[in-house]
Symmetry: C2
């Protein structure tokens, strides 16, 4: 058995504590799989005295000097589970430049400035692994960055945020509105006290950027991702979706396509969308995550599992630790960032989407013609239309229209013009539609 | 750009032709991902003149001298898509010993004598990759052999044979019997002219051995796998399952447990089983594959996709080719076989299973007591029991019993004794139950 591989752990919250626990419990197996034991050289925390329960670790290993720990010669691998942009970025850049291998779960940092980390990894000739940053324990990034490298990925569609999936699942199951479902999620611990990052889609957008970068061999950052949260999804929207045999999910979508000049490009977006109940993603309930991948030769693939939580995230972190530790022992480095394609990212207006639009209209001759005329003027083709009496009565009617695929800007402009029509009393619901229908 | 990485392709059937096509179509992307172009040095086939449609390849590359091709100094990577034990084994052992990297889709060979290949790979210090051997395009082996190496896998449950899944899905949907559903599968091209390997579970058993080996760091061969096919699944069995809110799937199950002496052991088996319709595997229809993995920290994971077909299999082969080509350029080798745990494989009799048993019994006092007594004598605990009038009348009754988990031998002995009871007119259906109920 060789000399130990020594880890610096940055952060010891829920995930960090679980990493410590698993390193202890699985130490014999991990050593056998790596060919050398793993040892914790130190754990950087903000406050040393904090109660962390019973951790199987020497308390002398805790330090508040993260940078000092990182720079130590006897540290081989730096594991970061602190989160946030700074000081995590400075720490990891420092570690990578110094030739350490880095394992991180920090999706926000990777989406904000992954380039800086990849560049530092190339400079120090070390490994940068981040399986835990997207979809927790689901082995997803490795398949994208390795297994599917003989194929051409055309589209990635994912449910990558457990909080919003729990809320939307509850709204679908009970008919509750957003506020009520959020309250339940908070009570049950599925939503944080400040749920902004989840419900406004920031968390999903960071993951979308990471997935798109890997799938399309292109650097995609959080700023490239069109983002809409779920705060404006209403009980009426959910009811509309149900009436269509659908449910509403917050989807992250990264798709290959062409720009206005016919050149290859990608679009990356996060927004709520209706998907048919028969779609594999529709049955992903509660706080589970799933990612649906479409590739030219492989066809349709789906990866499903727990997207968050201490143990599942720690499982992904440790899988990466085993890989980078093995590489260090072999004196090698895994494939570095693959961003050779450098495809342009299209603005949302050019993304091809479909809309489901529910209108309250006056019930009189010529209404359908006028409405249809608006769609035609924006070159938007209608797939299905259904007219019925309005619930409220008053001589109004409800018009439910599902379009074919069109540029998002044309669909948005169509809705804008419909809002201005005299005969349209109100636009009751507008939702994008994904996954067939 | 570096010197080309040169491939010897053994076999040019459906998968081989697709590999040739993708190598041609994706050549620029593959070269960018690898850092060097891929070139085909030669293609070994049985008959050179055969019509292979329009392949984008110089016909002079075809040869009938596989061994000569493998031994050529300008061949770096050997890709085997011939199948079968011999001559594939001799060819691959020769290639690996000579230091070539090998990519194979040959599940039968890996399950029969994977050890010989792994040993040869260690001898030649080359890579042995076989992602395409299980579940076609689904990136599954790499997650098992890398991503989950920081975790402890407790169970793998998979639908890994598309033909039988198509047949059982059809039986569930239409109520057809096995023979009728097989005929349909054959007509539609989902079953081969001789369907034995599929319907008798040989194909699934080979895959089960490969999955168990990776999941439990233990050499498991086809001979270690308990195997039952689906030829004896009747329309009545399917109806029984439906009545329980279940469906029948041919499952491969690899589970960690303890042997009679309380030592850690594994059991590996392939057989039809009832699973609840709410289980994620229940909705895997037609010829799709899916594998459900349970691990201590990661929790439940599922991988889903196309398990067979030229393009999906070729996608998996090429993903492996990219990986081994990169390794060759870097002068490194991936982690070798991990079989350090060397857990014993339990016989089927010791595997813990649950049975669903449907009995036609005489409808008179004391029957339930007598039947329950048989279960008690074999120390089998009954979970649910339902008694109702038999369809056929004649004063008989139907007794449907679902057991708790017990050793398979005890359950089998229970059924054996029930068959001998006077009051039991017939044992109408016996099925194992998996995935809760």
């Amino acid at each position: 058995m060789k000399q130990p591989v020594r880890l610096a752990l940055l952060g010891c919250g829920t995930v960090g504590a679980e990493v410590v626990r698993l390193l202890h419990e699985q130490s014999a197996d991990l050593a056998a799989r790596i060919g050398a034991p793993l040892e914790i050289a130190g754990i950087a925390v903000r406050r040393i005295g904090r109660d962390r329960g019973e951790l199987p670790i020497d308390p002398a290993l805790f330090t508040t000097d993260a940078l000092g720990l990182i720079k130590r010669d006897d540290v081989d691998v730096v594991v970061e589970v602190v989160g946030g942009i700074e000081p995590a970025r400075s720490w990891l850049v420092e570690a990578l430049r110094a030739g350490k291998s880095v394992v991180t779960a920090n999706k926000a940092l990777l989406a904000e400035d992954g380039g800086a980390l990849h560049d530092a990894a190339a400079e120090g000739d070390g490994d940068l692994y981040y399986e835990a940053s997207v979809a927790g324990a689901i082995p997803l990034l490795r398949p994208l960055r390795e297994s599917l490298h003989g194929d051409r990925i055309t589209r990635v569609t994912g449910i990558v945020n457990g909080t919003t999936n729990f809320i939307l699942s509850a709204m679908h199951a009970t008919g509750a509105g957003f506020a009520e479902a959020l309250e339940e999620a908070t009570e049950l611990g599925y939503a944080e006290a400040d749920p902004t990052a989840d419900v406004e889609g920031f968390d999903a957008a960071a993951k979308a950027a990471i997935l798109a970068s890997l799938a399309f061999h292109t650097r995609v950052g959080a700023a490239d991702v069109h983002r809409e949260g779920i705060t404006e999804v209403t009980a009426a929207d959910v009811a509309s979706a149900k009436a269509m045999g659908c449910t509403i999910k917050l989807l992250c979508i990264a798709a290959r396509g062409t720009d206005g000049q016919g050149r290859e490009a990608v679009s990356v977006r996060v927004h709520p969308a209706m998907i048919p109940l028969t779609h594999p993603l529709a049955s992903v309930g509660d706080a589970f995550n799933a990612v649906f991948v479409e590739a030219d030769a492989a066809g349709q693939l789906m990866f499903y599992g727990r997207g968050a939580g201490g143990a599942p995230t720690a499982s992904a972190v440790l899988g990466d630790v085993v890989a980078v530790a093995r590489n260090r022992l072999a004196g090698v480095r895994s494939a570095s960032e693959s961003a050779y394609a450098a495809l342009p990212v299209r603005p949302m207006g050019e993304a091809l989407t479909r809309y489901h639009i529910s209108l309250d209209v006056a019930d009189r001759p010529g209404v359908l013609e006028a409405v249809a005329g608006v769609f035609a003027r924006h070159d938007v083709s209608i797939a299905t239309v259904r007219q019925g009496p309005a619930d409220g009565g008053k001589g109004d009617a409800v018009l439910v229209i599902v379009t074919h695929v069109a540029p998002d800007a044309a669909l948005a402009a169509t809705v804008g013009e419909l809002r201005g029509l005299d005969i349209v009393r109100s636009v009751a619901s507008v939702l994008r539609v994904e996954g067939g229908l």
